[in-house]
Symmetry: C2
Subunit: 209 residues, 2 copies
DNA sequence: ATGAATTTAGGACAAATGTACTAAATTTTC
DNA sequence: GAAAATTTAGTACATTTGTCCTAAATTCAT
């Protein structure tokens, strides 16, 4: 069970570097230091590798959710939410080829697509719950119109899914710089909803510290 | 000069349907009703087709900007901004393969990438100007923190670039439904910045009418 | 109308690629 | 320690794909 892990690790790196769509069986075998035949023994197709990596990412994110859920609700604050978002962003970045080739992968792997939709639905519920807790803690202003919180969830979800693609196209920065830049931007979407007390807590972050 | 246009039209449709990365020379020639040899005569590579389509999209968007710029500043309002965004969304949707294969295309066509970055920079300036005009017209609250307007521009730009990818993955709706849903979401990002008067103008839209 | 230029069709050809197969090597089991 | 099971390497094969070439057909200019 060692070679499989090795293959997945190298595939993750290679896919991230050059895009999962432009890697061949021979490319990956070479990068993993094994023969093409052996690669085929462990994974019949490259799609199978992609799928395995997807479920690895999901597992990593689930682990994060679990540790965040252990936090008492009273301790939740905009700052905590930011810290959690930033951690998630770092995990996503390690599997960024998935977000960069999103549409293509989803079209090729219907199972992944179905799973991802459920994941997004769960995330939607989580985010909504997050806002409710923040509101109960006096961190959020009440909605200015019906459905404002739901709209925020949709916007935040979109940014969460595609910030990497945006960074890839628009910025030249490295990993740390991108994560910092976009987790800050993510936080900024929350700013308009905050009470003065909530805003005060994150003001240094918004200023760029 | 007729076959070239025919090729581009069919390519746009085919790329939209199946993704530009999964189309072969023979696929496109067949769809255009011409021989592969003839296709090669007009476009040496598929990348050349993609590039031509990109510049078509840019031309269509520029035409829209020009007509919007003809509008007197006093007439600008959240509602007008929404109408413009919605038109742009419709144009983008006609070339959605470009947004769906964004990263891959940008990696393969450095010229397009460079051009697109400049385009985004211009858009950033435009959007910023838009907010200034809206603020001067009494439609916007002043920023709650320094740089809030700039943050909105970044968020709006990201949503503008990737709403189609998000729709492709998360929704089953058709074109009209998707455009309506996401141009509304785009508008919703503006809501928190609006004065009470500004919000009043778009409240029916946010409610879903 | 006729020669030149352009456009088109059809297919050839080599490179690349996924897949499958066989045999050797290594590990595991008893 | 020997047999069985697993893992690995190497390669062959058929298919696909981009590119190029030639000749026919069509259009254009004079």
């Amino acid at each position: 069970m060692k070679t499989k892990e090795l293959i997945l690790d190298r595939a993750r790196i290679l896919f991230n570097e050059r895009g999962s769509g432009d890697i061949t069986v021979r490319d990956l075998a070479h990068a993993a230091g094994i023969s093409p035949g052996n690669l085929g023994y462990h994974f019949p197709t490259l799609d199978a590798v992609t799928e395995a990596l997807y479920y690895r990412l999901v597992a990593a994110l689930d682990a994060q959710v679990a540790s965040a859920a252990a936090l008492p609700a009273v301790e939740l604050s905009p700052l905590r939410a930011y810290a959690y978002a930033r951690e998630s962003f770092a995990v996503l970045y390690a599997y960024r080829f998935l977000m960069l080739d999103f549409v293509r992968i989803m079209r090729r792997l219907p199972g992944v697509r179905a799973h991802f939709r459920e994941l997004m639905e769960r995330r939607r519920v989580q985010f909504t719950g997050l806002l409710d807790v923040l509101a109960a803690g006096g961190w959020l202003e009440p909605p200015r119109y019906p459905g404002q919180y739901e709209d925020w969830v949709a916007q935040a979800g979109l940014i969460g899914d595609f910030w990497i693609a945006s960074a890839e196209i628009l910025t030249d920065g490295g990993e740390a710089e991108r994560i910092a830049q976009y987790s800050r931007l993510f936080l900024a979407t929350l700013a308009p909803l905050l009470t003065e007390r909530g805003l005060a807590e994150i003001r240094p972050l918004l200023a760029g510290g």
